[in-house]
């Protein structure tokens, strides 16, 4: 593995579970602007950095998988990658 940040789909789903109070298996895969703001907030806290996201990037995110793809382009690759 190389070039991928240390952030997986399961991480995002567990962050959404924290927001919604649902078990991870019941977290919807669609995300709205509120869920997205929450994910950006927690991911930035985890990496101690501000992701340089554009309006267009955010507007294109409709699912957890979309969010993961966009976040990967904005985060540093993992140290052991």
């Amino acid at each position: 593995m190389s070039g991928q940040p240390d952030l997986g789909r399961a991480d995002l789903v567990s962050m959404l579970a924290e927001l919604t109070g649902k078990p991870v298996e019941q977290v919807p895969h669609r995300v709205g602007s509120m869920e997205l703001a929450w994910l950006v907030h927690l991911v930035e806290q985890r990496y101690g950095t501000q992701m340089d996201l554009t309006d267009d990037q955010l507007a294109g995110i409709r699912t957890v998988d979309d969010a993961l793809t966009v976040f990967h382009t904005c985060l540093p690759a993992s140290a052991d990658g």
């Binding site: 919604t20 669609r30 709205g32 509120m34 907030h41 806290q45 309006d55």
Partner: protein
């Protein structure tokens, strides 16, 4: 049965200068983060009045503002009122379909909309270059100063009007509530100023009481704490319950003695969230209860009555058959009014609740109808369901709230989830759209053919 209500007369626009512009010219009104003082705001408003008038706004006419939270929104709102016009507030997240329907009904003389927005993602306040265009050559539908749309079916009770006198009375009410930000202090403003909490509890109260309004640079816990830290004056964070989570999960990197309080409106906050917030920041978490129709109804700004609230000064609350009723001298609904919503000076909230006969404290226990709150924004599930049912390819739909808006859809032919998503995105603002969509071959029905709404049955139908 609906009946015609007495249409309020428009009020002289002098109230804007008397109530909102009465402070010193050098007082800072907004920090974006560059300070905007009262003299600058007044100049910008005067200039905007000229543009509105040039585009066709006349006293007694309406201007529809389809603007995101921005200096442009503030300026055009105040300019509309100062021109003797009615402001029709359209949330910028509404789709073209939703806006067109509203404009046809409310016939504003001008529409103010962005030609360009900027500033970056997750901004609380954005940079807007706006354009004013003529729309209809008719007077406003009523003498109300502001028109707000509440999510709902197309029923006539969902266009909500408030008079200038009513807005001024609410601002005055805020000045008499113990625990609000005081003159010279700051409000860190998170809710949209298109909706009542941010509009009156933030913008109008702030302008009147000489409280600086500070939208954080972006929507995130660090940005809110940075906004608090940017000045030494006391700061109250105004938000909705979602924002509590952002702050509860953010550790300040320095002491913030100026952080005075956080106050939220919207739905009830779970005790664990309250605990997490107060453990982290050590300041009171206040709670407010209000409605678009009347504004603030009650508060518990010290967090000492949770989950109950004390009625705001001048507001009477009573309980009738388990429902909370609010004193409201005139119907807030434009044109035709449904006596099931307002009658004889009382507004039916559709909130279940109780009023303590000894203390007068009010406890809200949840909705009696299909309205839910998504990040502080009200969404009527019947609107979502009616929209889904009206889409091509949909035979029937049931929309429920299952820790999020959840739709069960029975197609009448080949229909993919993605196709349904695209159709919905053209018709419903994002916050109204289902987070979970289940396509089912056959929706469960009763023996008489009615759609079943039980969550247990629906979950079984779409495992």
């Amino acid at each position: 049965m609906y009946r015609q209500t007495k249409d309020p007369a428009a009020q002289d626009p002098g109230w804007v200068d008397d109530v909102l512009f009465a402070g010193r010219p050098t007082d800072v009104c907004l920090r974006l983060p560059e300070p905007v003082d009262r003299a600058t705001l007044h100049r910008l408003v005067t200039e905007a009045q000229a543009r509105l008038v040039a585009a066709g706004l006349r006293p007694g006419g309406a201007a529809a503002l389809r603007l995101p939270p921005s200096l442009s929104y503030v300026v055009n709102l105040l300019a509309t009122w100062r021109s003797g016009g009615q402001a029709v507030l359209l949330d910028h997240r509404l789709t073209d379909h939703e806006v067109d329907r509203a404009l046809r009904r409310l016939t504003p003389q001008v529409v103010v909309a962005p030609v360009r927005t900027g500033g970056g993602a997750l901004k609380v306040f954005v940079d807007v270059t706006e354009r004013v265009t003529g729309y209809a050559d008719r007077p406003a539908v009523s003498g109300h100063a502001v028109i707000q749309l509440s999510s709902g079916s197309t029923g006539p009770s969902k266009v909500i009007g408030r008079t200038a006198a009513d807005l001024v009375a609410e601002v005055e009410r805020y000045t008499r509530i113990d625990g609000v930000a005081l003159p010279g202090e700051r409000i860190i403003l998170l809710p949209s100023m298109v909706h009542v909490l941010g509009l009156v509890g933030g913008l109008l109260y702030g302008l009147h009481a000489r409280v600086e309004l500070v939208p954080p640079e972006r929507l995130g816990g660090d940005a809110v704490l940075a906004a608090i830290a940017a000045q030494d004056t006391p700061a109250t964070v105004l938000g909705v319950p979602f924002h509590i989570g952002l702050l509860a999960s953010t550790r300040p990197d320095r002491p913030l003695p100026q952080f005075t309080r956080m106050t939220t409106g919207g739905e009830l906050v779970p005790p664990a969230v309250v605990q997490a917030f107060t453990d982290r920041h050590g300041v009171p978490l206040g709670n407010m209860y209000g409605m678009t129709e009347v504004g603030v109804i009650g508060t518990d700004l010290h967090g000492s009555h949770r989950p109950a609230i004390a009625p705001a000064p001048g507001i009477e609350v009573r309980e009738s058959d388990g429902e909370l009723l609010i004193s409201c001298p005139a119907s807030p609904y434009v044109g035709l009014s449904d006596p099931d919503r307002w009658a004889d000076g009382w507004l039916r909230t559709r909130d279940a609740g109780t009023v303590d006969p000894v203390t007068g404290l009010v406890t809200v226990r949840g909705r009696l109808d299909s309205q839910v709150s998504v990040g502080g924004l009200k969404v009527d599930l019947t609107e979502v369901e009616a929209t889904l049912t009206g889409l091509p390819g949909v035979a029937a739909a049931v929309v429920t709230y299952d820790d999020g808006i959840t739709a069960y859809v029975q197609p009448d032919g080949p229909l993919s989830g993605d196709a349904l998503d695209r159709l919905l995105a053209e018709r419903l603002a994002g916050y109204k759209r289902p987070r979970t969509l289940h396509l089912v071959a056959q929706l469960p029905r009763t023996t008489t053919g009615k759609l079943v709404r039980s969550l247990d049955v629906l979950r079984t139908a779409a495992p």
